[in-house]
């Protein structure tokens, strides 16, 4: 097996809820390898979203270490972390989180714009990605005129914009009906298979878990099985 892209050791994260300390993660070990389809499952409050946030460099752990390609990321400043997110990761959110004032194509173009890709190239690649998720006809449509499933497919296309190695998806099907959720999962599994992009999904939806090639179960901030 190839070396993991991401490797977390003893990750802990504590939040303050009012004056109470809430331990969201308590010493979690986790690895993410190229091309894998990993699902984090567990009940609400088990630490799935916290772990996704740490793996995606959206948050910093209080303890433990996280390596990207064998190099620790703890000491990186905000700009370096932003550049890594832009170049190496894609994100899919439960509420789609498309930019309301941009069209579907422009939403897909946005990460490429951050990377400095030329305008024409951006347009071409964004059109291709939208076509690959079956939304060619919706390129010029703003998110508020798209259905939930269409929005999530735009979000998947956006996540793929800069050819990331890992796509992190936090409860990607939670706001979708059964049929649409299946379509989005089909899309993710096919992208995973075709592009060798690793997916890390958090979910407590059994249909999502059923698609996983590897499942980690979290409970009260700890992995209770199977082993990372």
């Amino acid at each position: 097996m190839s070396a993991p892209i991401l490797a977390g050791r003893g990750l802990t994260r504590t939040y303050l809820l009012g004056e109470t300390e809430v331990k969201a993660l308590s010493g979690v070990d986790v690895t993410v390898s190229r091309g894998e389809f990993l699902v984090l499952q567990g009940p609400s409050g088990s630490g799935k979203t916290t772990l996704i946030n740490l793996l995606g460099l959206l948050d910093r752990p209080d303890g433990g270490s996280l390596d990207l390609d064998g190099r620790p990321v703890a000491a990186l400043d905000e700009n370096a972390r932003a550049d890594l997110r832009r170049d190496r990761f894609g994100f899919v959110f439960q509420s789609f989180n498309l930019v309301a004032v941009l069209t579907a194509r422009e939403n897909v173009e946005y990460p490429m714009m951050l990377q400095g890709v030329a305008k024409d190239e951006r347009k071409r690649r964004a059109s291709e990605l939208l076509a690959s998720v079956g939304l060619s006809s919706k390129e010029g449509v703003r998110p508020d005129l798209l259905s939930g499933g269409q929005r999530q497919r735009v979000a998947v296309a956006r996540a793929l914009a800069n050819q990331p190695e890992v796509i992190l998806a936090d409860e990607p099907t939670a706001n979708l009906d059964t049929k649409t959720a299946d379509e989005v999962l089909d899309l993710m599994t096919s992208v995973n298979a075709e592009r060798q992009v690793a997916f890390v999904l958090s979910s407590h939806d059994p249909r999502v878990v059923a698609r996983a090639r590897r499942v980690l179960t979290l409970h009260d901030g700890r992995i209770i099985g199977p082993a990372a």
Binding site: N53, L58, A82, V101
Partner: protein, 408 residues
């Protein structure tokens, strides 16, 4: 799509709120542009009035003349004034040299005596370069330098109960302190804009004044009219030096140094409009800050998303500052159009402002296009909007990504 187009779309996202803030900027810009235009017109009018009502651009006299009152007429007079005037007239910047004899005394119609402030002058160049001849309400300006006439302020003429063509007697002390009197005919009556001066104004030819005070070729001062008003400060030392080199011991002052009233009005206007400008800036700042803070709060989750996708904090900050800048520029463009429209209306309805203290006539309202005021309005509004955007921009850039993504 780029950061600028994203900022433009964000401004257009909540149209009503942006229009309201833009409206405040339009109002602010128009107020600065119109107030600047009005001040410029007022300062220009007051400056021209000061210069053309007798002060000239420069005055040159014996140094003691500028230091205090004279005990007797021409106590600090300038001798050989014709030669001095000829030397000054040779300078290419000089348009005219106006010799003046200042004197005070009593004018009498036989039954009533009224004090006056008299000026002896050369009527030809005075009529060409000064406005006094244009202020005549009756009678005529002096035909030539030998005329034995006087022009009286209309209020002085009223006190004396005389009209053009009547005879009066002027009484004054000579340079030797002897009381002297000459007869003169009232050539014309002038409407002097400053009330106190109108009650005392008397102008006559140099020959009458010279006879009255026994000037013997001396004058009180030489008023100098330049071809370009802006040259006054530069020309003064040169002219004084050229007279010095010919043996004259003289000093000089520019119109601005002599015009105390102009300086007072200017300071007053700048104070009033400066305070109003400050109030305006605070109003615009608060309105714009409110808009930007609401925009930042409403878009918290979107900011979290943009950060998650790899947008650097500095770019988030730049986007909000750009939004402020766009609002400012759009508001200034609207403000320029509005101020030009209001200017056309104000200048065509014939409004007259009430006279300021001490002035007998109101001033017609006229608003100039004053480019500096437009530039100041632009700079002020842009700076205010950028300042108003700074705090929300900084806050948006520093927000924790996970907190922003969890924002409802």
């Amino acid at each position: 799509m780029n950061l600028l187009s994203l900022a433009v779309r964000n401004v257009a996202r909540n149209r009503r709120r942006s229009l309201l803030t833009g409206g405040v900027v339009v109002f602010g810009f128009a107020a600065v542009a119109l107030a600047g235009g009005f001040m410029s017109q007022s300062f220009e009018g007051l400056r021209d009035g000061t210069i053309r009502n007798g002060t000239g651009h420069l005055q040159i006299a014996d140094p003691a003349f500028f230091e205090g009152n004279e005990d007797a007429a021409l106590e600090h007079g300038l001798g050989d004034s014709e030669k001095a005037a000829a030397i000054l007239a040779k300078d290419p910047a000089v348009l005219a040299v106006l010799p003046r004899i200042d004197f005070v005394g009593l004018a009498t119609n036989g039954s009533r005596s009224v004090p006056y402030l008299g000026t002896g002058l050369d009527p030809g160049p005075e009529a060409q370069t000064m406005d006094t001849a244009k202020l005549l309400s009756s009678g005529a300006w002096f035909k030539d330098a030998s005329e034995r006439g006087v022009v009286l302020g209309s209020a002085l003429a009223k006190s004396l109960n005389v009209k053009a063509g009547d005879s009066i007697t002027l009484v004054a002390t000579t340079t030797d302190g002897v009381l002297n009197a000459v007869d003169a005919t009232v050539s014309g009556l002038a409407e002097i804009p400053i009330k106190e001066l109108d009650e005392r104004y008397l102008a006559t030819t140099l020959s009458v004044a010279s006879d009255l005070v026994a000037a013997s070729g001396r004058v009180s001062k030489l008023a100098v009219v330049l071809r370009e008003p802006a040259d006054a400060k530069k020309a003064l030392p040169r002219l004084v030096a050229s007279l010095d080199s010919q043996g004259f011991h003289v000093a000089g002052k520019t119109w601005e140094e002599l015009a105390g009233f102009y300086r007072q009005v200017r300071t007053l206007y700048l104070g009033i409009f400066g305070f109003m400008g400050l109030v305006l800036v605070v109003v615009v700042l608060l309105a714009a800050a409110n808009t930007m803070m609401m925009a930042a709060a409403e878009r918290t989750r979107e900011i979290g998303t943009l950060r998650a996708l790899g947008t650097r904090p500095s770019s988030i900050k730049r986007m909000f500052l750009l939004e402020g800048l766009i609002l400012a520029l759009a508001g200034c463009a609207g403000g320029a159009v509005v101020s030009l429209l209001i200017r056309v209306i104000l200048n065509n309805i014939g409004l007259t402002l009430p006279p300021p203290p001490g002035v007998s006539h109101g001033m017609p309202l006229h608003v100039n296009i004053y480019p500096l005021a437009y530039a100041a309005g632009l700079v002020l509004m842009v700076a205010t909007l950028v300042a108003a955007s700074w705090f929300p921009a900084r806050k948006a850039a520093r927000i924790s990504i996970i907190e922003a993504l969890a924002h409802v």
